[in-house]
């Protein structure tokens, strides 16, 4: 019985230490891993719906059309039909939620943001040089943004 193999004390201590360290790692892991982790993949599944619950600033064209049907109908007849209302009128979610919030009034410069002549712009796009094309006049003196083809 005396010859029974006995593990050296160093080894015993080290094995116990290792078990302790690995064990506490596994316990920590069980507690510190978020519960939705791995729901879809190697990430927190809840992050998806958290990303989806971010507040909006732009309402989207359907929301505008709900009240402003007239303008939408008119717009649909002309070249600006593809534009969303918020391209020109600015973000409208605040206005949709509370009609007292008014959207900013547009200025002459706003038309030029798209229609000022620029050699980098594709040729199919209608452009004018504001220095040559009736300088000093306001765009809306002649053009109607909701009916751009109706030129005097």
């Amino acid at each position: 019985m005396n010859t029974r193999f006995k593990l050296p004390p160093q080894i015993v201590r080290l094995v116990l230490l290792t078990v302790g360290i690995v064990g506490s790692y596994l316990i920590a892991r069980a507690f510190l891993t978020p519960s939705s982790f791995g729901q879809y993949g190697w990430y927190r599944g809840d992050a998806l719906m958290e990303a989806a619950s971010h507040p909006r600033t732009f309402a989207g064209k359907p929301a505008c059309t709900e009240c402003h049907e007239e303008q939408a109908k008119q717009l649909a007849k002309f070249n600006h039909q593809s534009l969303s209302c918020e391209v020109c009128h600015g973000p409208g979610q605040a206005h949709v939620e509370n009609f007292d919030v008014k959207l900013p009034v547009l200025t002459h410069g706003h038309c030029l943001r798209c229609h000022e002549k620029n050699p980098s712009r594709p040729h199919w796009h209608k452009q004018i040089s504001s220095r040559e094309h009736f300088p000093g006049d306001k765009c809306i003196e002649c053009h109607k943004p909701h009916a751009p083809s109706e030129v005097p």
């Binding site: 004390p9 116990l16 078990v19 302790g20 064990g23 506490s24 596994l26 316990i27 069980a30 507690f31 891993t33 978020p34 519960s35 939705s36 982790f37 879809y40 993949g41 190697w42 990430y43 927190r44 992050a47 998806l48 719906m49 958290e50 990303a51 989806a52 619950s53 971010h54 507040p55 909006r56 600033t57 732009f58 989207g60 064209k61 593809s82 534009l83 969303s84 918020e86 391209v87 973000p91 943001r113 798209c114 000022e116 620029n118 050699p119 980098s120 712009r121 594709p122 199919w124 796009h125």
Partner: protein, 269 residues
């Protein structure tokens, strides 16, 4: 004696630890239920990410460089002022070659003043010297094999089942590895939250059936967006792929971008 005693305490501790490990999932489940009851979420209730596959494409010939998309993106997503862009527009100007140089093109100038948020009013080259010029909108390339997702050490950035690549701002440790790994410069470190940030395809909008803000405000349909799993009648995305031959950016890197471009030039990268 001392040895056996310490071993016994160690064993007891191990037993306790095992119990704790077994209890952890239960604790977590309870925590989740409590959170679900207490935290009011704004998320759409009936959105199932596995039932959609969102796709973005660009027709460069339609971009007029107005910068509405850049501005809308910053507004919609509360992107900080400064060199932080989830989407931006680049302007390429190819000048005419020197006479008799036997070159096909002169030099190529690329710029993106403030990401193009105010448009491109100044033309840096006299118009007579320009051979070609065009705008290229950029955003996250939604890579099939995203180097950013691959490199995130903790799983804080990920490919969603519906085709977006998102960052989990509550889990990101802010190491910046994903920003270094993105070949397209589409990510940045948010200076306020100190987490990595990027285009989410306006996940909060598309999950409600709205278009991403940049697509919503694009006046010329240079940005084409849609759902590959649920095509609508006259789907612009399907039309786009029928009509155009497309290219991706930096294809040699094997990232396999899902964002595709029609009518770009070899200089675009």
């Amino acid at each position: 004696m001392k040895q056996s005693l310490s071993r016994r305490t160690v064993l007891t501790k191990l037993g306790l630890a095992a119990v704790a490990a077994a209890a952890a999932p239960a604790v977590n489940a309870a925590k989740t239920t409590v959170q679900k009851v207490l935290v009011k979420t704004e998320a759409p209730k009936d959105y199932d990410p596995t039932q959609h596959k969102w796709q973005m494409a660009f027709d460069v010939n339609r971009c007029i460089g107005c910068g509405h998309c850049v501005e809308a993106c910053k507004q919609e997503n509360n992107v900080p002022i400064g060199p932080y862009y989830r989407t931006w527009i680049e302007r390429y100007i190819v000048t005419k070659p020197e006479p008799r140089s036997a070159e096909t093109r002169g030099e190529v100038r690329v710029d993106s003043p403030e990401g193009g948020i105010h448009g491109f009013n100044d033309v840096p080259v006299p118009e007579a010297d320009i051979l070609q010029s065009f705008f290229v909108p950029k955003l996250c390339n939604l890579c099939e094999h995203s180097p950013c997702v691959q490199s995130c050490p903790v799983g804080a950035t990920f490919d969603t089942p519906d085709g977006a690549v998102l960052v989990d701002p509550k889990y990101c440790i802010g190491c910046g590895f994903c920003i270094q790994a993105c070949p397209y410069g589409c990510r940045f470190m948010n200076p306020i939250t100190h987490t990595a940030e990027k285009c989410t395809l306006c996940y909060h909008r598309i999950s409600r059936g709205l278009k991403p803000a940049c697509v919503e405000v694009c006046p010329t349909q240079a940005r084409i967006f849609g759902d590959l799993k649920n095509p609508v009648p006259d789907d612009p995305l399907q039309e786009f792929f029928k009509k155009n031959r497309v290219q991706t950016l930096k294809p040699h890197l094997g990232t396999d971008p899902r964002v595709q471009y029609a009518n770009i030039d070899k200089e675009v990268r």
